[in-house]
């Protein structure tokens, strides 16, 4: 047993060396991705970004990296004409900073809506009624889904993009948290069950309840639901630490990721990280934390453009 453990340690040592050399080679031979505005075979219709915060960093660093990345992503999406962007993090950091993000998106509204109602951010049970004119309307008639488990902003097109007329498109930004994931499916199930029970009271025939994939899809993705993203970028705030273990999805809404192409650059490691253990944490966290870079974004778009979709056939 002890012997086996020794061999295992040896195996891991060899494996680390192999990984180190492979990532070093990749680093040397990495291709420069095509420029942001290059014509690609395909662009995502709905881009989703998962942000992975890190417990080693203080809250401020995490928040700063994530909001900075979101602002950058918004501007890239506007430049390229990607119509929908969803941002997710499991801890709800984005949602708690929704006000800061909104202020940057709608600077002209800053004076008008100073009191961004905190209770609308913390749900359930109150649906987050976005109270500005740009947001989508919420109709009380929709019984099956009277709640929106996420915040949604509609950003009008860039003025400067008007010369490329086809790209001047409005951008929908969805701010998701863990609440929009499995709990949202459960909430939808409860809503369907309540409607069904009410219908049963008034109808004579007591047939067993049946649910089709399409009708559940309608409730989850329909009018007030979340549409499935066709592309997903996983962006860790602390890449050197995150990439020591394989990627995960951190509780992103499961129903919507059926055909989502996933991008994560596993070789974005900084080996200096190992040398920085002696620095005070606030210094090392500013050095090691990373926002989404244009390089990464371009590389991700290149991967999406070259992906092949066969859809089971």
């Amino acid at each position: 047993m002890v012997l086996a453990y020794l061999f295992l340690a040896l195996l891991h040592a060899i494996y680390s060396l192999v990984i180190l050399s492979i990532s070093f080679c990749r680093h040397l031979t990495r291709k420069t991705p095509s420029p942001l505005n290059a014509t690609r075979r395909r662009l995502p219709e709905h881009l989703s970004i998962i942000f992975v915060s890190d417990g080693d960093f203080d809250e401020r660093t995490n928040e700063f990296c994530i909001t900075e990345s979101i602002h950058r992503a918004i501007s890239w999406c506007q430049q390229l004409g990607i119509p929908q962007l969803s941002v997710y993090d499991a801890e709800g950091i984005i949602l708690n900073n929704a006000e800061a993000i909104r202020e940057v998106i709608f600077p002209e509204n800053r004076v008008k809506h100073t009191g961004f109602d905190q209770k609308h951010i913390h749900y359930p049970p109150t649906p987050p009624l976005s109270d500005y004119s740009e947001s989508r309307p919420l109709s009380p008639e929709d019984v099956s889904n009277g709640h929106i488990p996420f915040l949604s902003f509609c950003i009008s097109p860039l003025q400067s993009a008007s010369r490329a007329s086809k790209k001047s498109q409005s951008l929908t930004l969805n701010v998701l948290s863990r609440e929009a994931s499995k709990p949202s499916v459960a909430r939808t199930a409860r809503a369907i069950a309540k409607t069904e029970r009410r219908d049963l009271k008034y109808s004579k025939n007591k047939s067993t309840f049946e649910l089709s994939v399409d009708s559940l899809q309608n409730s989850l993705e329909g009018n007030f639901g979340l549409s499935p993203p066709d592309f997903m970028i996983i962006h860790p705030v602390h890449p050197s630490k995150y990439h020591r273990s394989p990627i995960e999805l951190h509780g992103y809404p499961p129903w919507q990721i059926r055909l989502t192409e996933i991008y994560c650059n596993r070789f974005r490691k900084q080996y200096e990280a190992r040398l920085m253990w002696f620095l005070p944490s606030h210094v090392s966290s500013t050095l090691l934390s990373s926002s989404l870079t244009e390089w990464e974004f371009r590389e991700a778009l290149d991967q999406f453009a070259s992906a092949e979709f066969r859809l089971g056939k």
């Binding site: 089709s212 994939v213 992103y252 499961p254 059926r258 859809l311």
Partner: protein, 290 residues
């Protein structure tokens, strides 16, 4: 001059042949493989590993084979990988064998796949074969009613043959889609809640009991005893989940996208995945201590 060199050559080749024969006789490669697996098994091992067996057709095309042969080689790869997993003491293995959408493929291919499923299911479960040797219970997960009657009968018989086994679980997902599994779970929960309401009146509403956890426990794979999914492996370089165990793998599951086509997938593709799992377990432990 030529005779001694020829003699040496003959001697050398015969020596090599003898050496090779001894190696084969002693099953050195098998021995090496097994000791490697034993070494790996001394560290932390995942409980549940899922495979999306993708790339059979591209493999066949690359080798100039028929599509059906590609699927046949895919089955051999499944046996190989399954044996590795069982030797590592992985408790549950799930494989994506056939998607509901796969019925859209050319009729001939679907027919060949049905025949393959029918014969190989029974082969796997037969007396003295892999599943019986390692005490594996076979579950076929998915909308079985979509299969032709003969395959349905084979499924029932195969499940029946292994129902007493309790060491490990093999979930063969066919014809499967995760959305279908989730919908069935939601449907089950709602049916249960509606039934309870008719039975008796109590203060708590059974509908309010439908939560994330109840939905999870109503999933087909979970109902059949599968532990939470730890690792998902997708072969052939595609970076999508393609409707496989979405609910199970969207949280606390490590995703691996391997470039190898499924029929080529073997020990040396799988060992790094296990090593990475062990590293992450150890890494988490150390960060907990700090």
């Amino acid at each position: 001059m030529t005779t001694p060199s020829l003699l040496i050559q003959v001697l050398l080749t015969s020596l090599l042949h003898i050496f090779h024969w001894i190696l084969a006789r002693l099953r050195v490669t098998q021995l090496a493989q097994r000791s490697l697996l034993r070494i790996l098994a001394s560290g932390p091992i995942p409980q549940h590993v899922g495979f999306v067996m993708d790339g059979n057709r591209r493999y066949a095309r690359g080798k100039g084979k028929l599509v059906q042969e590609g699927h046949g080689d895919g089955y051999l790869a499944l046996r190989r990988v399954l044996e590795i997993c069982l030797r590592l003491n992985i408790r549950c293995v799930s494989v994506y064998a056939f998607a509901i959408d796969n019925f859209k493929r050319p009729e001939q291919e679907v027919k060949a796949l049905m025949q393959l499923a029918e014969s190989k299911l029974l082969e796997l479960c037969s007396h003295g074969d892999l599943l019986q040797e390692y005490g594996v219970k076979l579950n076929v997960i998915g909308r079985i009613s979509l299969f032709p009657e003969s395959v349905q009968a084979a499924v029932r018989r195969a499940e029946d043959l292994t129902k007493e086994n309790n060491r490990s679980i093999l979930n063969v997902c066919m014809p499967y889609s995760s959305r279908d599994e989730m919908t069935t779970a939601v449907e089950d929960c709602i049916r249960g809640a509606l039934l309870k309401d008719v039975d008796y009146f109590s203060a708590d509403d059974p509908i309010e009991d439908i939560t994330e956890d109840t939905l999870n426990s109503h999933l087909m794979s979970v109902k059949r005893g599968s532990p939470p999914l730890d690792i998902l492996v997708r072969t052939s370089g595609v970076k999508r989940l393609s409707d496989f165990m979405l609910w199970q793998c969207c949280e606390n599951t490590q995703l691996h996208f391997s470039k190898t086509y499924w029929p080529d997938f073997g020990l040396f593709d799988f060992v790094p995945i296990i090593l990475e799992w062990q590293r992450s377990v150890w890494f988490q432990e150390t960060s907990h201590f700090v």
